[in-house]
Symmetry: C2
Subunit: 317 residues, 2 copies
């Protein structure tokens, strides 16, 4: 199959590209390298089944051309910097997520591409009343990022029903990678950076009791690959995450310990969340995807441990 | 209070403007008159508490200026032509609903306007599995129009939580009015128009068995006015519709009968729905708004009868 991966030079996208190449597919990576990095796909560039298309989803013509002869679009590109700061424009997520996704869908329609796989986020649920949260729970986004992901989901649904396309929407737990990105710092790179500068004290956003679940990129890609195999259904919405969660303080302890640091003083900025729009506690109900045969290999704690080790190995190099 | 009504020259907006004036408020009608009509607010223009602002929501500066000193925005403006035809652009709803709503929210944020009332649609549920459909049911839009309404809801939720605004989202049944609009023909004006030309035969989209519920504008406005009185809650999502529904064939019979026509032959275009993206059957669970004290005065049948009479009276004039 000919597949296009938007955001294909990102942390998930580049590993997905490698997996799809291994499975024999033709892969086009479409990325503007705003948060993705060319180095993430460097080792794939000599594979003649891989094409790198440096393009921007806000340029309709570019994505329209990129969709020619494509069978499946994995639409991963998004604003990865999910924290809104008072000085930020409020239309970043509207542009980079909502409008970009419209451009992808329209480019697909114009080229009769019939299948889209979309990486949504657990954030769309907001502070859910039901935890673990099942897919049919109403959405109540509490951030501009989450709102745009919900908007993308809605458009995908609309396009799939209107134009007989097939949509796969994965609502992801926090995906944790051994790769780092240009924009949108993760909790791990934040802690490693801070502890490299000050080995005695660590500033932790919020009260440290935020409890979230983390999934390795590999487990995430295993889930996404289901979309290649399952029989056709118009719109498929699936939670994708581990069955457990971990607190931010526990993550801090893992990072400090792996860095060989003892008695690090945690200094909490306070409040029940890390930033405005942060969902302080979530856990996904993954009954639906488990019934399709998916099972993560790692718990949240293991995912954090693996990614921390990988990030630290790179720092040391 | 100083209120701004976007789409204030529309079928609902103009009646809402009249009601808010009667209750003593300062009202600014913001409308680009693309589907609204100046004649709908003609009788209000000599009220010195009414201001008419002919403006376009896609012009950020215009809506930003219009939001100065406003206490509440009733955001009713939308693409009223919900049927997508193959020759139509696919970004009408994205622009006129999603991006326009972002512009409203951003204009409110910049002017510290803290309250938005939004007219969403029962269409956001798509073909719901639960009928009557409660608010916490997951959304699965099957049209570009419905997708954009769901996207607007998500953005309102995001803005309300991020910037401490209060949001009232009403998911409306089909609102039926004695007024007609420029764009986006309703079932009643379609039938009246056709039967005026051919008094013996009526073309009905679909199989005529589509079953929907209809609410008069007055009942709708009674519901919306709740938002002025209820105590503050960040985001309030409320279904608004009658407890019954009516088939398209039954509507055709009412119109024919009120036009004094007998033995009109119904010619169905066939299929279970009127157009691609049409939801053939819906009924809203309105337990939530009824608990707040709202109750419609009319059933779906009565709403259709009242609106048909009013429309026919205008034709005769």
């Amino acid at each position: 199959m000919e597949v296009l991966i938007t955001g294909g030079a990102g942390c998930i996208g580049s590993d997905l590209a490698a997996r799809l190449l291994r499975e024999g597919h033709q892969v086009t990576v479409f990325d503007n390298l705003s948060s993705g990095k060319e180095e993430h796909i460097q080792n794939l560039l000599n594979n003649d089944r891989l094409k790198f298309n440096k393009g921007d989803l806000l340029d309709k013509k570019q994505i329209e051309n990129a969709c020619k002869n494509i069978d499946v679009v994995f639409h991963l590109a998004a604003n990865s910097d999910i924290k809104y700061r008072p000085e930020d424009p409020t239309d970043e997520d509207l542009k980079l997520n909502t409008i970009a996704t419209y451009n992808v869908l329209e480019a697909m329609r114009l080229n009769s591409v019939k299948k889209i796989v979309f990486t949504s986020s657990s954030a769309v649920y907001g502070e859910a009343e039901i935890i673990p949260t099942p897919e049919d729970c109403g959405l109540r986004p509490i951030s501009l990022y989450a709102a745009s992901k919900a908007a993308c989901e809605a458009m995908i649904s609309g396009f799939c029903y209107m134009f007989e396309m097939e949509g796969w929407i994965f609502r992801l737990a926090n995906i944790i990678s051994g790769k780092s990105r240009k924009k949108g710092k993760t909790v791990l790179s934040d802690f490693i950076e801070k502890l490299s500068t000050n080995r005695k004290e660590l500033e932790i956003l919020g009260d440290g009791k935020q409890r979230k679940s983390y999934l390795t990129v590999n487990d995430c890609i295993d889930g996404i690959m289901l979309a290649m195999k399952e029989p056709y259904k118009q719109v498929n919405v699936l939670n994708l995450g581990p069955e457990d969660s971990i607190t931010v303080d526990e993550i801090a302890e893992i990072v400090a310990s792996q860095m060989g640091l003892k008695d690090v003083k945690f200094k909490h900025t306070g409040g029940d969340r890390g930033w405005p729009g942060d969902v302080p506690r979530f856990l996904l109900d993954t009954t639906k995807i488990r019934k399709l045969g998916w099972k993560p290999r790692h718990t949240s704690r293991e995912a954090i441990e693996i990614a921390t080790k990988s990030l630290l190995d790179q720092v040391i190099q």
